[in-house]
């Protein structure tokens, strides 16, 4: 059985102008020790689905799902108190902006030791020892000294290391990294990704990497799930996905990679992700899809089979059947 199992997860936000569906019947599985990347443009609901799992959405959000199981616990049936025992302990998350994600009023050591105290019940001396270990593990030099430093006194990269140390403090079984490198320099990005992968290798935890950077996906991920406008539209292992994308959106995303460009002008995907008011009736990608026909515009395609990457498309690419059309 997989570590994390999500079935038919939907998240609706109550806004002043009515309901907005940010995540639309998403299924997701993560196994122990696996690196899953969730890719998509801004507003595709990739962060929201994971925040829903963590129980971190604001009160305006309504989360519904058929199944939400983590490590054998049914999160749907759990009250907040019981869920807090898991969140931050076995299930941890790091965020996009390390600078603003750390509390400016407390030393970073205090912020790490807090988790150790509440989840593991370590005493003062044990907490201190473990915090130093964690800092060493994430590659923060001079850990003893750094514990008493405030977030504003460190660089973004160092702060992200602190965030990671904080997240892995209780040896989580699953770590969700929500665009962990977006706010960092390119050189630091590579270091942080290396750190996350090596931590996965050491501890055998599952890793969910939310990103919009296909380069990051190619380097780090093992399995990729592509999200568009709240729906999961395709899911494959990383190599086949790059080689043979089935959904036109995935293909268009890959074509837009500068590394793959063959022409002088970089191909782009025209239009934007549909918002609250311009949600199409049929396939959500149909207004931007160059293959779309009337059927696409009228009906919402259900996910295809495993062999076609569960692509939500009537006319998947790179298949033998496709040749006919």
């Amino acid at each position: 059985m997989s570590l994390l199992r999500i079935r038919n997860l939907s998240v609706d936000f109550a806004t002043a102008s009515g309901k907005f569906r940010a995540v639309d019947s998403v299924d997701q599985d993560v196994d122990t020790g696996e690196i899953l990347a969730i890719v998509g443009e801004s507003g595709s609901g990739k962060s929201v689905s994971m925040l829903a799992l963590m129980g971190l959405l604001p009160w305006t959000a309504t989360v519904t799902a058929d199944e939400l199981t983590f490590d054998g616990h049914d999160l749907l049936k759990m009250d907040r108190r019981a869920r807090r025992k898991i969140v931050g302990n076995d299930l941890a998350m790091i965020f996009q902006e390390p600078m603003s994600s750390l509390n400016p009023c407390f030393p970073v050591g205090w912020q790490i030791k807090e988790s150790l105290r509440f989840h593991l019940g370590l005493n003062r001396a044990e907490r201190h020892k473990r915090a130093i270990e964690l800092f060493e593990q994430v590659g923060i030099p001079d850990p003893e000294k750094r514990l008493s430093v405030f977030p504003h006194q460190m660089s973004g990269g160092m702060n992200q290391r602190v965030m990671i140390a904080m997240a892995i403090a209780c040896k989580p079984k699953l770590l969700i990294a929500d665009e962990p490198t977006t706010a960092l320099d390119v050189t630091i990005q590579a270091q942080i990704l290396d750190l996350l992968t090596s931590l996965r290798d050491e501890t055998g935890m599952g890793l969910v990497l939310i990103t919009h950077d296909m380069g990051v996906v190619a380097e780090t991920a093992e399995r990729v799930s592509v999200q568009y406008a709240g729906q999961k539209i395709e899911e494959q292992q990383v190599l086949p996905l790059f080689r043979e994308p089935h959904h036109p959106y995935t293909a268009a995303l890959l074509d837009a990679l500068p590394e793959r460009a063959t022409e002088k002008r970089l191909p782009t995907i025209p239009g934007v992700v549909p918002g609250q008011f311009d949600r199409p009736a049929g396939c959500l990608f149909s207004p931007r899809c160059k293959f779309a026909n009337d059927k696409c515009r009228a009906e919402n395609p259900p996910p295809l089979g495993e062999d076609l990457g569960k692509a939500r498309c009537f006319y998947p690419l790179n298949t033998d059947e496709r040749v006919a059309s």
Binding site: L56, I86, G88, F95, S101, L102, C105, F118, H152, M166
Partner: protein, 335 residues
């Protein structure tokens, strides 16, 4: 840090000169003559009037009078009261403990109720408690102090008879004025019931004086908390599985305290102004009542000296507040 303190202290100098000048000019701008007031209803003869004018130095040009006063102030001499002939300095500090006791209690009352109220309102934003609290705070803020005081006196002292109407302690008790703080002195005296009596006398003035700061602090805490609760680090704390009590009370509140401390500091000025009314209504023998009496007597040295000392206190409080910023949020120290 030392450099910061010194630079802040340097800004004191112009403020200090300004306050000295304004307080000196203010009382002289009021119509009325201290000598005539002292003479009372029987009046005073022309020769005696001129003699007294000379004695007090009122016949000299105003700038000479100011220079005399100012150089005196710099040497720590605020002059003597016209009425009691005692040094202003001594009078101020024999009465100040009463005001300080009242102000401190009012502040404790305001912070102890306002801070949690603001936090709870922010956490329950838009719900019944939030709305009820914020409208109550608005009423409290807009209520005239003297009217509120009279209302409380009528209900609690008059109708219910729970609290005394005025003074600091029942006449039953007498003990030497060791610290000037009635709550401390009454315990030190060891007399049965003295402390309770002092406490009961303190109750209504504290509520009256603390109401406006309470309302301001509650509203400020609420808005600061609302802002902080949307920050990324609050999400991080929740992702760590911390309880909402801990998140609101420690992670968020510490950050929200900065603007709250600012209004607390500013409230000290309001508090001393409010103390003047409150002390007058409750016959509280503090500097507020002393100042009001002195204004009516045109007791120039007392009014200008008292104003100056109050202003210096407000300045010191605000300096302390500035230092507290750096302690609460170390990021501010950098600037």
């Amino acid at each position: 840090m030392l450099k910061y303190v010194l630079s802040r202290l340097a800004t004191f100098i112009p403020t200090f000169i300004g306050v000295t000048l304004i307080s000196f000019a203010f009382i002289r701008m009021l119509p009325g003559d201290p000598i005539v007031v002292m003479a009372g209803e029987r009046g005073i003869s022309e020769e005696r009037y001129l003699e007294l004018q000379q004695q007090f130095g009122f016949d000299r040009p105003i700038y000479v009078q100011f220079w005399d006063y100012f150089t005196g102030v710099l040497q720590g001499d605020l002059g003597n009261s016209f009425v009691t002939k005692r040094p202003v300095w001594d009078e101020f500090f024999s009465l100040f403990p009463a005001t300080l006791e009242l102000s401190v209690c009012a502040m404790i009352f305001a912070v102890a109720l306002g801070l949690p109220a603001g936090v709870i309102a922010a956490v329950n934003r838009g719900k019944f408690f939030d709305r009820a609290l914020m409208s109550t705070a608005l009423v409290g803020y807009s209520m005239p102090i003297f009217w509120w005081a009279l209302l409380l006196i009528i209900v609690f002292s008059g109708n219910l008879g729970w609290t005394p109407v005025s003074g600091r302690i029942d006449l039953l008790y007498y003990f030497p004025n060791a610290t000037g703080f009635m709550l401390i002195d009454s315990i030190a005296s060891g007399q049965d019931g003295a402390f309770t009596s002092a406490l009961r006398h303190l109750l209504l003035p504290t509520i009256v004086l603390g109401t406006i700061p309470l309302a301001v602090i509650a509203r400020q805490t609420r808005s600061a908390m609302l802002e902080v609760l949307g920050e990324d680090y609050i999400r991080t704390a929740r992702a760590k599985g911390m309880s909402s009590g801990r998140i609101n009370g420690i992670h968020a509140l510490r950050n929200a305290l900065i603007p709250v401390i600012t209004v607390i500091g500013l409230s000290v000025g309001t508090l001393l102004a409010g103390a003047i009314l409150t002390e007058t209504i409750f016959s509280w023998p503090g500097i507020g009542k002393w100042m009001v009496d002195s204004i009516f007597r045109r007791d120039y040295p007392v009014v200008q000296g008292g104003l100056l000392l109050i202003a210096v206190m407000v300045m010191v409080v605000n300096l302390t507040v500035d230092m507290l910023y750096g302690i609460i949020n170390p990021k501010i120290r950098k600037r």
